[in-house]
Amino acid sequence: MDILGFVANLVSDYTLRQVAIGSAALGIVNGVLGSFAVLRKQSLLGDGISHAALPGIALAFLLTGSKSSLALLLGAAAAGWIGTLLIIGIVRHTRVKYDSALGLVLSVFFGFGLVLLTYIQKMPVATQAGLDKFLFGQAATLLRKDVMTIGILGGIVLVFLVLFWKEFKLVSFDPDFAFSLGYPVRLLDILLTTLLVVSIVIGLQTVGVVLMSAMVVAPAAAARQWTDRLGVMVAVSGLFGALAGVGGALVSSQAARIPTGPTIVLCASAIVFLSLLLAPNRGLAWGWVREQVNRRQLQTDAVLGDLYVLAMQHREPGHGHTIEVLRTMAHGHGGVDRSLRVLKERGLVKESGAKEWSLTPRGMEEARRLSRQWRQTP
């Protein structure tokens, strides 16, 4: 399908539009909340919450017998929340460490969820089908009312975030300071975690419990590369989340047998990869370029310095030296030819007839300045 046709389809096709809006909304909310999770070193908490939500979904279905998304979401949120509190409780009251507590709660809740799911599947009721879409997500099943639920819950989360912006910022970066100012740090902590739970839960139907954690971590980790300001990071992260959500959901709804969750996650991973590589300042590619530029600069300076040392050892300043001598003095660091060319262009060295190099008066000046500078820097 060509892009124009695709866009036309997006505008005209009702289902496709639902899918796009729903996944954009959940991408934004998770990107925003994920920023806080990543900054608070809770990247993997999302993994715990989303897995822990599974038994909640199954229990909600068993208790209410309905597959209405609100009931299932409530169950998921309750279970995710209990899982989080358990993790915190285990860490506080035993000597089991955070990572073990997280892995334990995550896998045990998920296992219990699978028990319930397989139990439900064998019940003699016809309506149970479709719960397993919560494992890997299925954007194509998003209905109008699901999208409404996502939008409303996501909206509430964002409103809370705006209301408590200053407090959350403070608690995320310096909880001790926040405490000393008299903020209820524990309470804010729980509130922020609760918002994270809600934002994860609204993505479960689309992305699935297994991979939902990536929607929390990936957009935020990508956004972190582009900025050092929290406000910008949160906005960029929301944007990335929306991009990944829409991109993944649309691709998977276009082709047969491509599960939605993994596709969204791959889109998000691609964004992370590009950001790590190309983001200005923190990008690895720019780092590499900077390193090359610096290395060349140092090589050039070193050749100039070597010529200066040689000039000091000879009576007449115009005495020429072969390139071999300079290469030897460079201790195999290379770039001698290039450095000489650059220095010549800058008028700092001159080449005599017999392929011998020496400093020009200006080069002499520059070399003295450099050597003073080197002596001063420790």
């Binding site: 990247s43 089991v96 699978l114 690895l284």
Partner: protein, 369 residues
């Protein structure tokens, strides 16, 4: 019990023990979530390996999957070392990406071969007895059992041979490095073992539940013991208990065996958390209550001692005065006095309290120490 039931339980036990052993080191080294990452990303190895050799039972598949596990660990380290993201975020970025690739490959191209996405999550322990291994035409048991028994043996050998090195590198990586045991080599050896175990167990219990079997039994044992060798032994035992009780729970509910094994590990953890002899919540609660009484008793003795032989002693060392002076509620004061009396530290004349010689000695000690 039918033969198949016994075989399933046997495999479940072997899987549980094989997972628990490396799991002990994971929780001690604070790398529990690495098992989550590895157990998910080996799916890519299995998928790619399957497309290359087109045989789900080939041992090459196990190797390629285990290799993926080690690659995951090094990718996480590589990403962490760029200092652009923290380690937890690196784990959270790498394994979902790899797992996603695996899931897409399988659901798009593997079609209806018996490698499907459900099996990835659930494992297929219930079907394990159908896949037989025969030697010279004679049926000698389910293949899964021999695979896992082999892995268990490998883990046992690894831990037995490198016990000292593992212990040292786990508890004091710096010292291990200084003594010439490269912590990096030990780290990667352990990660290889975890990967191989995860691949083997993956077949039986699925990816997420590998994590339960690796983390929960050692975490439970960690609440009970302080020694590495008993940590290994107790967590293996807990693994076996979970395997067997999990099997029967699943049998009763007609539900996923792997899921119910994981649920059992959780139940046993919670039970231990509440009732562990020294570190359980109940034990802590009892100890605190006892300490409260003991402390109060010392205060009482010191109080009596201070007023002994001074004017106003009748008023100060009066039973009803404790409420006012030490701010104790009458029932609490009654308990403390009763306890002190039983221990022979004070004697009571109606409502007037006085120290015995022993009580006096104790009060003096409390004031000096």
């Amino acid at each position: 019990m039918t033969a198949a039931q016994i075989e399933i339980q046997l495999i479940a036990c072997v899987v549980a023990v094989a997972c628990a052993l490396p799991g002990c080191f994971l929780i001690l080294r604070r790398m529990a979530m690495m098992s989550d990452a590895i157990s998910h990303s080996i799916l890519v190895g299995i998928a790619v390996g399957f497309f290359v050799i087109r045989d789900l039972n080939s041992p090459i598949l196990v190797l390629s999957a285990a290799l993926t596990g080690v690659v995951t660990v090094s990718l996480v380290e590589l990403l962490t070392r760029t200092k652009r993201v923290r380690e937890d975020a690196a784990i959270g970025l790498i394994f979902p990406a790899l797992f996603s690739i695996g899931v897409i490959l399988i659901s798009r191209y593997a079609g209806d071969v018996h490698l499907d996405v459900d099996a990835v999550l659930l494992g297929e322990l219930a079907f394990a007895p159908f896949n037989r291994l025969s030697v010279l035409g004679r049926d000698i048991g389910p293949k899964g059992f021999y695979l896992m028994a082999g892995i268990l043996l490998l883990n046992l050998l690894f831990i037995a041979i490198f016990y000292k090195e593992l212990k040292l590198a786990t508890f004091d990586a710096g010292l291990a490095g200084a003594l010439g045991f490269s912590p990096a080599v030990i780290h990667y050896a352990l990660m290889t073992i975890v990967s191989i175990t995860a691949v083997g167990a993956f077949d039986a219990v699925g990816s997420v539940l590998v994590v339960a079997l690796m983390i929960a039994p050692p975490a439970t044992a960690y609440l009970i013991t302080d020694s590495l060798s008993s940590l290994l032994a107790i967590s293996s035992l807990i693994g076996v208990i979970c395997a067997i009780s999990g099997y029967w729970a699943a049998h009763a509910l007609d539900a996923s065996i792997a899921g119910s094994m994981a649920t059992m590990t959780g139940i046993i953890f919670i039970a231990t958390f509440l009732a562990a002899p020294d570190r359980g919540l109940a034990a802590i609660f009892l100890r605190r209550a006892r300490q409260r009484i003991e402390f109060a008793q010392t205060m009482l003795l010191v109080h009596l001692y201070n007023h002994e032989g001074l004017p106003g002693v009748e008023r100060e060392n009066h039973m009803d005065h404790l409420h006012e002076h030490l701010r104790w509620r009458p029932d609490f004061a009654g308990r403390v006095v009763g306890d002190a009396e039983r221990k022979g530290s004070i004697s009571r004349d109606g409502v007037l309290l006085s120290l015995t010689e022993r009580g006096r000695e104790k009060a003096r000690q409390a004031m000096v120490g």
